[in-house]
């Protein structure tokens, strides 16, 4: 059983701030973390490894500093780590990213055949959920998104049964491996890194692949050139023409402020008053 887990290093978006005056992103000092959704995928892969044996390889594409994310994954118990990094990948959109990752997975597959590819359901910086499906299509693998549970895995028969979150319910699906699974959050919790694995992570020689070693056959399918989408404008949201009417009273008494607010609001929106009264009755 060989599982490749695709992860991404992302800025901790909870700590990104916009400069109040210039409206630009303040990126200094924002820590880089492993995309939290990917940790659920990694944990699920490690559990399958515990149960069925085999190896877990973590893969990421990004700048050289993304190596830290891979070391983190090794400390949790992943066996191998590959960083795909090359200037030609800069500016890749999701289509170009899926091409580079699919090429790298094909290379990994040459050393040790890949049975499953896992990813998180989406990243917290792009939020697109597109790269997983893209990689599956490029590798002609069965695609199972939003999987909440792996019910059964038969390595001999190359069959897997999973529960997939869909609109209004859970689909139970059976498919053959190799397949690509995007793992839903919240159904497992990342284990603690053991001392042994932390030592291993610090010494582990992460495989660093450039476009040649990653098996990229067509450079025009990567980076800006290989990206159909272009960002034509980045801008701060426009405030409403009229700002909020700040409720003020002679005193700062919460009760007085509240009563004044309701009086003003319901005078302007009488329909709202009726509706709330009706439903709360």
């Amino acid at each position: 059983m060989h599982i490749v887990v695709c992860i991404k290093q992302v800025p901790d978006s909870a700590q990104i701030r916009v400069h109040p005056v210039t409206n630009t992103i303040m990126r200094q000092g924002v820590p880089a973390i492993v995309n939290p959704y990917d940790l659920f995928a990694l944990e699920e892969a490690l559990r399958l490894k515990d149960q069925y044996g085999g190896r877990v390889t973590v893969l990421t594409m990004g700048p050289p500093m993304a190596e830290a994310a891979l070391r983190k994954a090794i400390s949790y118990g992943a066996d191998d780590a590959v960083l795909v990094t090359d200037r030609v990948f800069a500016g890749s959109d999701t289509l170009a990213t899926s091409y580079a990752l699919a090429s790298a997975i094909s290379q990994i597959n040459k050393d040790l055949p890949v049975d499953l590819v896992f990813t998180g359901k989406q990243t917290i910086d792009g939020d697109t959920a597109q790269v997983g499906p893209g990689v599956a299509k490029r590798l002609d693998m069965q695609l199972l998104t939003y999987v909440s549970k792996v019910r059964e895995l038969d390595v001999e028969k190359k069959e897997i049964i999973v529960e997939r979150r869909s609109e209004g319910g859970v689909q139970v699906l059976k498919t053959s491996i190799p397949s690509l699974i995007t793992v839903l959050e919240g159904n497992n919790e990342m284990r603690f890194a053991t001392m042994t694995n932390m030592f291993r992570a610090s010494r582990y020689p992460v495989k660093i692949w450039n476009k040649e070693t990653a098996g990229i056959e067509d450079v025009t399918k990567t980076g800006l050139k290989g990206s159909p989408t272009v960002v034509s404008k980045v801008f701060a949201p426009t405030p409403r023409a009229v700002k909020a009417e700040i409720i003020q009273c002679e005193s700062d008494d919460p009760k007085e402020l509240s009563v004044t607010l309701l009086a003003k609001m319901f005078t302007k929106y009488p329909k709202l008053e009726k509706e709330i009264a009706k439903r709360a009755a």
């Binding site: 109040p20 990213t97 700002k243 929106y269 709330i276």
Partner: protein, 363 residues
Amino acid sequence: MSETTEAKKPAGKKKFELDDRLKAYKGIWVFIEHERGSIHPVSLELLGEGRKLADHLGVELAGVVLGAPGDAVRSFCHEAFFHGADLCYLIEDPLLADYRNEPYTKGLTDLVNKYQPEILLLGATTLGRDLAGSVATTLKTGLTADCTELNVDLDARSLLATRPTFGGSLLCTIQTLNYRPQMATVRPRVMAMPDREVSRTGRILEDKLGMVESSIITKVLEFIPDEMQDKPQLPFADIIVSGGRGMKKPENFQLIWDLAKVLGAEVGATRPVVQSGWVDLERQVGQSGKTVRPKLYIAAGISGAIQHRVGMDASDVIIAVNNDPNAPIFDFAHYGIVGNAMTILPALTDAFRVHLATVRKAG
């Protein structure tokens, strides 16, 4: 999942000329999503938005319906007409009874290759995201996820797809220039529901799927429907009371629940609050949670970062309570109280209780 959008150069001001082979792509398509016998409302919302784009470009608006043969799929075509579509492409096949990636990807991809639409819109649901990512990769075209605004650039006949970026602190407009179709997904409740006009009709164009069950590897063994009763239904709630990090402690969140109870409202929260485990994930409002459009939205201890704003600023009336007079939430709320949410909320709850009792007595 790389979107190193900051590394990209702007498209520039020089006049853009579309490749000749792509000029044949005409018309706006909306994928009509349905599961368990009814259309997902997001598809109808997209028809409303698609209608505007189609009128702008002077082209037709089409719905795409895939499903098992029967009256249901035909009625979905008519619903699409009622909500603005001029025509519907329909593939009926027993293999399409349940959603599976492989047959749905083939069906939609084949239709696109045959009829060549310039824009293809899908709902950003679990189904829509699964399908959109697969179809876009198969067609090798651009796809923009979770758009909050759609427009067209008439010169380039290009879709202007706007979405939040950088963890939601800014907005960016994304274009797919020399690739067709231009694909985008939009989350439920982001666009307004268009009027349903039952007098509207349209044409149905039927096609074949051309697959056999034995060629489809993934099988559906079972479908376990969700138990509906205790799941919060934020996207369709009329009144929502939400709390943010400014509530300071999980215990203080009780004040949010108290106010919600008096109003018969749902409780919402920001991402940090959900990540801290104070409330259920289902209650997260914002770019990575639910998009809501209630009649009244009360935001307590919420600063109003874009990440949250895009999920709720279509609310009819917004009340913000925050102790920071410069918090961005006051830029787009309708009413604001500057003060400590922990003292304002109980007073507000009381004021609503008294006021509503009076109204009820009078009415």
